[in-house]
């Protein structure tokens, strides 16, 4: 086992910190835009930070029947989301820990987080926890293959499974659009909606336990534990948007460490993520939440698009 050289460690830490610090802002931005669509004022942009700060100060209350699994759940979820951020190229056309692995490791880390949270939700024996876990795994089992197919399509066109290498090659090759890329991007967008618990799949603002998917797993959590889960979910959402922007819209990505290139790249990334957030808000505002048994149909669309994208690569 070799030790990680210092610049890589610094880069990884900086990128993880960036994701951590900016993720709540994305949540706030989406809430604000959604409120604007409904002609409300909405909470202020920085409200998610205040919520997190409040929750982190509170003492978590745990059920007497809860075991260590319940305590470990949020921590593993948070850690896996944070680790996943170091595998994705964001501002620079390189991922900090790209030596460690590519697409498969990323999908694996996300699955690990989901597994930890679902087992933790089952641990207290609360019926809602079990229900939420079962639903989350159902959606996850359908979203994961769609995610992999979409990522593989991008990987196939660049000839590598390493995300950093992939973005570099795409940026080098310049614009030469193949229809499969749009299909894969559409599939990835549907997966994003499912993974972030957005409206056609799940409603993040609901207070009705029977319709919850992600939230139902969190009903037993409070205080710092809850803050960790919320924070990790926000990071995951930002991660998916960065991934979508990086793989399918590699415009303006910095390939060198020159300050002006980095500044342009950061601005471009912010614009792309903002655009995606607007798209999510549009979908959320114009669609009703699907009945749970119709969610598989939506995920089948994502799976179909992903499969087709991959198949079209061979023609």
């Amino acid at each position: 086992m070799s030790t990680i050289p210092l610049p890589v460690a610094l880069f990884a830490a900086a990128q993880a910190m960036g994701f951590l610090l900016l993720a709540p802002l994305l949540r706030g931005l989406i809430k604000k835009m959604k409120a604007a669509f409904q002609l409300r004022q909405g909470p202020r942009l920085l409200q998610p930070y205040s919520d997190l700060a409040k929750l982190l100060r509170k003492e978590p209350v745990r059920s007497t029947t809860a075991s260590w699994v319940f305590v470990a759940g949020p921590r593993v979820y948070f850690a896996s989301a944070l680790a996943a951020t170091t595998l994705v190229p964001a501002v620079l056309a390189a991922a900090p820990l790209e030596q460690a692995g590519g697409i498969l490791l990323l999908v694996g880390l996300l699955a690990l987080g989901r597994f930890a949270l679902a087992t933790a939700a089952l641990d207290t024996g609360s019926p809602f926890g079990g229900m939420g876990a079962s639903r989350e795994m159902t959606v996850g089992a359908l979203a994961e293959p769609a995610l992999m197919l979409a990522l593989f399509t991008a990987g196939l066109s660049a000839g590598t499974l390493n995300l950093g290498e992939l973005v570099r090659r795409t940026a080098e090759r310049g614009t030469s659009i193949h229809p499969s890329e749009l299909l894969a991007a559409a599939a990835l967008f549907i997966v994003l909606l499912a993974e972030a618990g957005r409206v056609p799949v799940d409603n993040p603002a609901t207070h009705l336990e029977l319709t919850m998917i992600h939230e139902a797993m969190l009903l037993e959590y409070s205080g710092a534990d809850l803050a960790l889960v919320e924070w990790a979910s926000a990071v995951k959402e930002l991660l998916f948007m960065t991934l979508l922007a990086g793989l399918f819209l590699p415009i303006g990505v910095a390939t060198s460490l020159a300050p002006e290139a980095l500044a342009i790249s950061a601005l471009a990334l912010a614009a792309k993520v903002g655009g995606l957030a607007l798209l999510v808000v549009l979908v959320e505002s114009t669609n009703a939440k699907l009945r749970f048994f119709r969610v598989p149909e939506l995920m089948a669309v994502a799976l179909g698009l992903g499969f087709l994208a991959l198949a079209m690569r061979f023609f």
Partner: protein
Amino acid sequence: MIHDFVVLCAAGMLVSVLLMVGQKALVVAIRLYCVQSLLLGAVGIALGLAQHRPHLLVTAALTIVLKAVLIPWFLLRVIDRVGIRREIEPYVNVPASLLLCLGLTVVGYRVSLGMAGASQGVAHQVVGVALSMVLIGLFLMVARRKAITQILALLTVENAVFLVAVGATSGMPLVVELGISFDVILAVLVLGVLVHRIVDRFESMDTSRLSNLRG
């Protein structure tokens, strides 16, 4: 650059058709058709500007006005009047029809490879997408029960043919295009009236009930 844009729009049209297959709400299907027509219009405008073919601009403008505004508005009004909002039980359920449509797309692409002059470059992508759209449109026409969905499927096929005419050939004469546009609007009007009549008589938009009329 211009080729990329055309391919992107064509791919967008394919995505819109697949999404149309993937859900059941009639309003969403109409909106998807609207998006699809807008993309077709964008292809027309882009090619018209890039290759200095002014009559393509007229075609594109006509496409956008008729197919992205007028027809969707008319169809939305029809479903508003008759109060039927979704496809309840298609003959083929959604996951199965998606699978079939994937197969059809692959077939469309494969067939386009065999066409002279359409085996590479932009023409290949455009013809491949258009053939797939024709096949999926025909499939939707037989797999769905509601008259509105069948009309939308027919219009999708028409859009696909138009895409080939604009994107892969040097275009049809303006007179022909005008004629087709009026045909389409007339067909939609007649079909709209037909939907009203079907709903009046059977209190449903289900076209399978039409066979009740057999003596």
